[in-house]
C-alpha cells in the first residue's frame, strides 16, 4: 500500500470516484487551473476537464444551492469551501434546502460539501473554525470527520456515494502533517466509529485532529502505564452510540475531546449521551476538553492557549484515572 499524506488521500479519493462515476463533478473557488487553495485538486483539470472541475464565482450560497439542483437531476456534486468558515455564507441552502428535502418530499440530495476546517497554524478567527456542531443540529445532514489518510479517502468516497447531503470535515492541520498507508482503488469507509487504540482504564473520545492529540497525550509511558482507549468517532451524524457506550461500559471513565468551541459542541452531545445512557457504567464525571467559547485567535501564544493540546489532555486523564 502506498503511503500518502492526509491531503493526498483526499485527492486520491476524489480522483478515484471521479474516474469510476461520471456523475461526480467538483465545484469550488480556484479549484480548477489553480488546483485549490490547498492543492487538493491539483492536476484535476488536466484529467477531467473544466466542466467537471468547475471554478465557480465567489458565491457560497450558489455553490451549495446549485449543487442541490444538480443532485436532484442525477449528478453527484462535490463542493469545496475554500475554508470551512465560509460555509456560513451557504448555511441556509445547506440547512434548509439540502437537509430537509428528503424528509419533506422524498427527494434525495446526494451532495458532498468539503470543509477544510480547524486551527493550529495562526489562521485566526475566520480560518480556524470547526463548524460541525451547527450541522449536527440540522436534521437531514450527515457529518463525517476523518483523522487518518485511510479514512480520509474512504469516508470521502462513502460521502460521495451516500444518497444524502454529507458534510465532510477535512482538518487543515492534518493535511501535510499526517501520513499513512492508504489502500489503492476504491473503497468506502462506513460511517461508524473506530477504536484507535484499545485500553481498559479510561476512554478518550475524539475525532479529526484531536484523535492525534488524544493518542499522543495518552501514551502509556505518560500515564504510569495506564491503558487508555481512544475512540475515533469518524462520523458525527450518524453517531456511533453503541461504540461509545460499549467503551464507557468497559472503562467506566471518559474524557470527551473536541477542538471546537465548547458550548453545544459535538462533545456536548457525546457527553450528554453518556450521562443519560451510560450513567450506570460511570465511575467518574464525564470530563470535557474543548476550546473555550472564543473566536480562535491569531497570535501563536493565544491560539495555543485556546486550542486543546497534549498537555491539557494528559492532565485531565491523569486526574480522572486518579478519581
Amino acid at each position: 500500500m502506498p503511503e500518502l499524506t492526509y491531503l493526498q488521500a483526499i485527492s486520491d479519493g476524489l480522483r478515484t470516484e471521479m474516474r469510476a462515476d461520471e456523475r461526480v463533478f467538483l465545484m469550488g473557488e480556484d479549484i480548477g487551473v489553480f488546483g485549490g487553495a490547498f492543492k487538493v485538486t491539483d492536476g484535476f483539470v488536466a484529467e477531467f476537464g473544466e466542466q467537471r472541475v468547475m471554478d465557480t464565482p465567489l458565491a457560497e450560497s450558489a455553490i451549495v444551492g446549485t449543487a442541490v439542483g444538480a443532485a436532484v437531476v442525477g449528478m453527484r456534486p462535490v463542493c469545496e469551501m475554500q475554508f470551512a468558515d465560509f460555509i456560513s455564507c451557504g448555511f441556509d441552502q445547506l440547512v434548509n434546502v439540502a437537509g430537509k428535502m428528503h424528509y419533506r418530499q422524498g427527494l434525495a440530495v446526494p451532495i458532498t460539501v468539503r470543509l477544510p476546517s480547524g486551527g493550529g497554524f495562526s489562521g485566526g478567527p475566520f480560518h480556524s473554525q470547526n463548524p460541525e456542531a451547527w450541522f449536527m443540529h440540522a436534521p437531514g445532514l450527515k457529518v463525517v470527520a476523518p483523522s487518518t489518510p485511510e479514512d480520509a479517502k474512504g469516508l470521502l468516497i462513502g460521502a460521495i456515494r451516500d444518497p444524502n447531503p454529507v458534510v465532510y470535515l477535512e482538518h487543515k492541520n492534518l493535511y501535510r502533517r499526517v501520513r499513512g498507508e492508504v489502500p489503492e482503488g476504491s473503497y468506502a469507509t462506513g460511517f461508524d466509529a473506530r477504536v484507535a487504540r484499545a485500553g481498559d482504564d479510561l476512554t478518550v473520545i475524539a475525532y479529526g485532529a484531536m484523535v492525534h492529540v488524544a493518542l499522543e497525550a495518552t501514551a502509556p509511558e505518560l500515564l504510569d502505564g495506564a491503558a487508555v482507549e481512544v475512540i475515533d468517532l469518524r462520523s458525527l451524524v450518524p453517531l456511533d452510540e453503541a461504540a461509545i457506550l460499549a467503551s464507557v461500559k468497559k472503562t467506566s471513565k471518559v474524557v470527551v475531546l473536541d477542538e471546537a468551541n465548547a458550548t453545544c459542541a459535538a462533545g456536548a452531545q457525546v457527553a450528554a449521551l453518556i450521562a443519560e445512557r451510560g450513567f450506570e457504567d460511570l465511575d467518574g464525571p464525564v470530563v470535557r476538553i474543548a476550546a473555550p467559547d472564543v473566536p480562535i485567535p491569531f497570535s501563536p501564544p493565544l491560539e495555543q492557549a485556546v486550542l486543546p493540546g497534549v498537555e491539557r489532555v494528559k492532565e485531565a486523564c491523569r486526574d480522572l484515572l486518579a478519581y
Binding site: 463533478f25 451549495v64 446549485t66 442541490v68 436532484v72 437531476v73 434548509n96 419533506r104 418530499q105
Partner: protein, 355 residues
Amino acid sequence: MAMAMGIAGSDAADDSVADVSVHLTRADRVELLRTMLTMRGIEQRALNLYRQGRVPGSFYDGFGQEAVSTGATFAMAAEDRICALHRDLAAHVVRGTALERILAQYMGRATGVTQGRDGNVHFGDKDLGVVGMVSMLPDMMLVATGMAMAFKLRGEARAALTFFGDGSTSRGDFHEALNWAAVQRLPVIFVLENNQFAYSTPLAKQWTVEPIERARAYGMPGVSVDGNDAEAVFEAVRAARERAIAGGGPTLVEAVTMRMHGHAAHDDMRYVPAELLAQWRERDPIELQERRLAAELDVAALRAEVQAAIDAATAVALRAPMPDPATATDGVFAEQAVPLGDGRAPWSGFARTEA
C-alpha cells in the same frame, strides 16, 4: 411603473382578445383556461376548508395570478424541471398532480404530496419533475440554476424554470443565481412574478429600478409581459426555453400581475389601495381567457366540468386518513437517490414537438 406597464399590455374595454402565440392550438387554449379554473377552484375550496378548520396552519393562494404559473409551465416539456412557489398552484396542475393529492396536502393528510410532512404549496411531486419550494425566498432560484447546470454539463436539450416574487429580488440568492446562470450561460428561465407586493411591502421599498434593467446588467435578456394573460406568459417562456435549449443562456421573464388576496388567509390587505384592486379586478386572467375563447367554447360547461372534478377530489381528500404518528421520524435520510422523474403530463405534447 411596473403595474402601469402590465395594464397597458391589453385593453380591458375591448371585449375581443387577440391571440398572442402562434404556437398554441385551440385545444391548448382551452387547456390554459381549464388549468386556471382548476387552480382557482381548488384554492377557493381550500380556503373554505381552512375556514372550517380542516386546513391546519395558515393558507396562501394565488388568486388573480393564475395565468403566470399556468402559462409558464405549459411552455415546458416533460423532461424539463420546475421549481414552483406559493402562488403557483397551476404549475402542479399542469405537471399532472392529482387534485385530491393537492387538497390532501393542504389538510395534512397521509395521501397529500408530502404525506403531511410539509404544508401549503410547499410541495412538489418528484415523479413529475417538480421541486417543492422551501420557505426561504428565493432559494429555489439556485436549485433551478443547478438543475440547468447539470443539463448543460451532460449536453442535454432540457431547461429548468423557477418562479420568484418581487420581494425576493432583494435577497442575495437572487443575485447569485442570475449571475451564475449568466456567466455559465445556463438553460434556465427565471420567472419574476411581480404582484406589486411582498406581504405588505410595496415595490418602491424593494427596488429603485425595474428588475428588467437588472437582467441586462447580468448579461441576459429581460422580457416583461402581461402576467394576467396566460398566453402572453406562455409565449415569453416558450421563446426563452427555445433560446435556452439552443445554448443561448438564461432569460428573466417578468410577469406583471397583482396579488388579489391577502398574503395569507389571515391578511385583510388593508394596506392595498382600493382603486388598485378595482383596476386589477377588471383584468382577471380567467375572464380574459374566457373572452378569448367565448366565440368557440361553452365556457359554462367547462366551468361545470372543472367544478365537478374539484368536488370529486374534495370528497376523496376528506376521506383520506391523517398520517400515522409512528411515521413521524421516518425518512429523514434517503436509502437511495432517485432523480426527479419526467412524469407524463397531458400538456407535454406541445413542448416535446418543439424540443
